[in-house]
Symmetry: C2
Amino acid sequence: MVIWSYQKMVKDDIKGVNMRIAIIGGGAIGLLTAYFLEENYEVTIYVRSTKQLQQLSNKGLCYKRGDKQEWKHINIDLFQNWQAKEEITFVTVKQYHLEAIYKKINACVTENNGFVFLQNGMSHLQEIKKLKTKQVMVGIVEHGAVKVNDYTVEHLGVGAIKLAALYSVNSFLKTLVGDKNPFFAIQEEKDYLAIMQKKLVVNSLVNPLTSILGIKNGALLENPYFYGLITAFMEEIAVILNLSEIEKENYFFYCVDVIKKTANNKSSMLKDIEEKRSTEVDSILGYLVQTANKRNLSAKLTESYYNMVKGKESS
Amino acid sequence: MVIWSYQKMVKDDIKGVNMRIAIIGGGAIGLLTAYFLEENYEVTIYVRSTKQLQQLSNKGLCYKRGDKQEWKHINIDLFQNWQAKEEITFVTVKQYHLEAIYKKINACVTENNGFVFLQNGMSHLQEIKKLKTKQVMVGIVEHGAVKVNDYTVEHLGVGAIKLAALYSVNSFLKTLVGDKNPFFAIQEEKDYLAIMQKKLVVNSLVNPLTSILGIKNGALLENPYFYGLITAFMEEIAVILNLSEIEKENYFFYCVDVIKKTANNKSSMLKDIEEKRSTEVDSILGYLVQTANKRNLSAKLTESYYNMVKGKESS
């Protein structure tokens, strides 16, 4: 007897059984992305540590939002076993772990493999452009999410992921975008440089200062002296990035908006410093310092904050 | 029967019975100065708090250096009772407590009263010049000393006090200088502006950065990123103070020397921040910002560090 199961007939169809997604990196963004994409695709998370592999295999993936808590089983494997069989790969590792991934991409991908890079900073853009594949998108994540332990992600602030294609040959962007889940919108942007720069500015204004001063994001607006810091720093960044007056205002308002929404949060860089991990300061302020040097511009504040974060990192 | 007591015949003579010294302020420097000057002069300490008055009256003044501990009885009174009867007055309060003292000086001193101001920073110089009296010296304290409690001072590093007259009419400098006690040398300097500037530079390089970063003084030399901070900041300060290349080098070496000698110490500003007291940042970096503004110079780093310290102070 044939059972015309809804599950088989409809859900698999919606899911698009043929569309497989790899997620490289088991951090907060990796886990969050896996949780939501699993609704519609065949997802596999690739992690580095065998401990996380075991935890995720044994317990499943746990998603928390407010009082809500949900468990899901998701395919999981070690990064060393990733073979680029999936049509789309989300790369969610930090900038300073990208090197190993570039090597593997160049070694085994074909023109059918699509990539989504979700790093902070800008310095990876020129590296990504050197990759063999041209099916590449870059994106920014506007969710607030924290990895509670190896198998649990807490969704603190619902935002969106904004993606833009690096080249016009992109064939898979349309598959991803749309109203698949209101808690995990994926939106298309036209100008990848604009979205990456905007995020770079936010990361530059918020992350270093909050981690140097040991303050929550909101203090940058509430304390008039700290507010003086971000306005002065914005002026320097605008010169380095050659922003127009309108762009400068626009970016700064965006930044104020992000700070307001995350007022009670500690920035990721502050958490990194507190937990004695490496920070992403090289791909954020380091990138700005390099850009200033190339353009023969002064970057006194940027260099100062860079040195403060690097010094804290190493002490 | 007359007793030709050594005490009466000799010691009082050495002491110079007629020379009375007032010390305004019962902080570390006030207590240290009182302890040593009491050997040769009739000393009275004037304090603000009745609690400290009682403690000092009941227990005496306790001086510690290494394993050594000594007690002395010293005259003590409330600042409100100070009437400028003493020939010399040492003003050892912090910059932000000077206002009340200026008023009293203008109200009751004559041309016979001499003053020694031992504040950090530079902004008090122009105020002191407005005082009625011209018998004024300014000085810098190169001792390491900490107030353990209301009646105890610990002498952590033996240095010297360097004094210079603000005007040529000074009549009492010669009395103070000389080899009275090797642990408390008072040395004469010719150029008051030079010594105050040199101390200002040290205070600017060491105090704000150590209190922003929460580090001991030595970290500024040991950590290469923090060392990068003080070299860059020295460049900006040299422009603001219009220092020659030779002065710049000279001041910087002096600063490195002070940091080496105090490597394991927390700066006074860091202690102020940790203990939620006001800092002296207004008379140090605030003075530099004002000077830069007057001269139409950029002071990006100075302003940034000023805002960081003020922000920490008020949060």
